[in-house]
């Protein structure tokens, strides 16, 4: 049984690695996080005991390791620079009075897009195009579902700074998806 469990867990490594790489950006850090998660999983086999789906369970463990890694990295690195907190890149979207230069159109059938692999690949590419910390802040908020206070602590930024980062992420992602998916 134990050997079988280990084989199943190992079989999910490629998936977990892809998941961690998307969030951590760095192959070595992702590898470490996955390794830690797998070690924890194998040590905690009894906690799994057929509960839920193995992949869901492993992803849950990995999420904690990813947050640990981001926390460690932001302690080691200097605090976010001002470049992370400007929104000048979106100024061209608005006219002098602050109104849309070209009002955004609605997206056609966004729910249908979610069921398509190509759409999720386009979304992952758009996330990779974001500045690293902006992407991490956004993933912590929207994917991992952390509260803003917790993200501020992990990334060592003020709430105001975080709101700007999340605004940038949302504006950049909507532009990216507009161009690479909905306008195609």
């Amino acid at each position: 049984m134990a050997a079988d469990f280990r084989t199943q867990v190992e079989g999910l490594r490629p998936y977990l690695l892809r998941y961690a790489t998307l969030q951590l950006r760095d192959a070595a850090s992702a590898e470490d996080a996955v390794q830690e998660a797998l070690v924890a999983a194998l040590a905690g086999e009894s906690n799994f005991a057929g509960r839920s789906n193995l992949r869901t369970w492993l992803t849950g463990i990995l999420k904690h390791k990813i947050v640990d890694t981001i926390r460690r990295q932001s302690r080691e690195r200097p605090a976010a620079t001002d470049a992370d907190a400007t929104t000048a890149e979106f100024d061209a979207l608005f006219d002098d009075s602050g109104h849309w230069a070209e009002p955004p159109d609605p997206w056609a059938q966004p729910e249908g897009a979610l069921a398509q692999k190509q759409f999720l690949a386009a979304l992952e590419q758009c996330l990779r195009d974001l500045p690293e910390r902006t992407a991490q802040a956004f993933i912590m908020r929207e994917h991992l579902g952390l509260e803003t206070a917790e993200i501020c602590k992990e990334l060592a930024v003020t709430p105001t700074h975080l709101w700007v980062m999340l605004y940038r992420a949302r504006m950049a992602l909507r532009q990216c998806l507009q161009m690479n998916w909905f306008d195609k």
């Binding site: 159109d105 992952e124 993933i139 929207e142 579902g145």
Partner: protein
């Protein structure tokens, strides 16, 4: 207070991350009632949240 679209887009984003004040919520509602572009952006921000949540749910063949 009349919001511009630029201010509205910021408040829509912040509304996903903090509880907006009463005045902010009223100003947003007034603006959204008259602005198609901002209503579309609001829907797109919400969709982004759902889409990013579903990222780990693809690739069911590996499950």
């Amino acid at each position: 207070m009349m919001l511009s679209c630029k201010e509205t887009s910021r408040l829509l984003s912040q509304g996903e991350d903090r509880k907006l004040g009463f005045g902010e919520r009223v100003a947003l509602r007034v603006h959204l009632a008259i602005c198609d572009g901002c209503r579309n952006v609001n829907a797109q921000f919400r969709f982004l949240r759902v889409a990013v949540k579903s990222l780990s749910r693809d690739e069911n063949e590996t499950a």
